[in-house]
Amino acid sequence: MTIHHDEPDVSELLAPLDSVEPAVMQRLHDRLAAAAAEQHTLDIAYRTVDSPIGKLLLATTERGMVRVAFEVEDHDAVLQLLAEKLSPRILFSASRLDPAARELDEYFAGTRHQFDLPLDFSLSRGFRLSVLEHLPQIAYGHTESYAQVALAAGSPRAVRAVGTACATNPLPVIVPCHRVVKSDGSFGNYLGGTEAKRALLALEAA
């Protein structure tokens, strides 16, 4: 790790200084995340959780949950996009997301039918935002068609735009776009894959 290859003898001399234990870095990292949160300089905290529909990335701002991402979205790419769109002050912090992780666990265990987490919709605007704000009103175990959602969001003819709003939902699972299905009852597309949507609807039907 010591740099300067043009002076290999010095690198060798200083080699005992190279070792940095992972546990020490871990401790320093956690201390940094906690202090940054306290000073309000940590704009986005994130962690991942395992779920029946794969590993989920959870990200929160000080205002609330800002992003849930499926594995297929590529979590690194999602974090990079958050850095560009919201803020690069992003740190891993398991504890900041403990409440969200707990609620998701309960949801996947079938014991929670409604999320009780503050949400930050700053990644969504306009009609898409109206759609997302309506979705939590579709009760657990129920579905609505894209047309019904369009009507509820105030633009009955914007059925396709409802599809786009659902497909770009930054908070899937928590904001239940999986409860929006085609008028003929078929599932329709889902960012996490049709299988994930089927699994969520099956879970809620149980």
Partner: protein, 168 residues
């Protein structure tokens, strides 16, 4: 211009180097405070940093300033007489001569210690080291070279005395 990456990646990529620098400049005891203050301050300023900036040089610059603050604060504090932390605690620090080496670095005059840390541990060119320490790049180079030379002497001497101490 390359988009700015999440700060988490900066910590993962440069955290170990900055800790090595802090240990060399501040000693094991204060190194973690130096590291923490460096990254807290870096996180705060990160959004305003130009995207093409040299992150490692930027972090070392912050670590340099924070270290000066910590040393100043340390010198202002009364020295406790009834506690005896004669040697910094080796807790959490791996063996294999690590602590001996840190002790040796701690015996160097500050300029040499800093020149060795910034140039050899962080890879800063002497031009940049001079920017931090003041003086010319040649003077920084001399400080680095003198530091390395002094380290060799200290280590040879201490290994001799250790052998003596360990003899039953």
């Amino acid at each position: 211009m390359e988009p700015k990456k999440p700060f988490e990646l900066v910590v993962r990529e440069h955290g170990p180097t900055v800790l090595r620098v802090c240990r060399a400049v501040l000693g094991a005891h204060d190194a973690e405070d130096g590291w923490s203050e460096t990254f807290l301050s870096a996180l705060k300023a990160y959004p305003e940093l130009p995207a093409d900036a040299n992150l490692q040089a930027w972090l070392v610059t912050i670590a340099h300033r924070k270290s000066i603050d910590i040393v100043r604060a340390r010198n202002r504090q009364p020295v406790p007489v009834d506690e005896l932390p004669v040697r910094p605690s080796g807790l959490g620090i791996p063996g294999d001569g690590h602590q001996d080496m840190l002790d040796a670095v701690g015996q160097l005059p500050p300029k040499q210690r800093q020149a060795v840390a910034y140039h050899y541990l962080a890879g800063l060119p002497y031009k940049d080291v001079a920017g931090l320490l003041g003086g010319t790049p040649d003077a920084a180079r001399r400080a680095g070279a003198d530091g390395v030379k002094a380290l060799r002497t200290i280590l040879v001497d201490s290994s001799v005395s250790y052998v003596k101490e360990e003899t039953p």
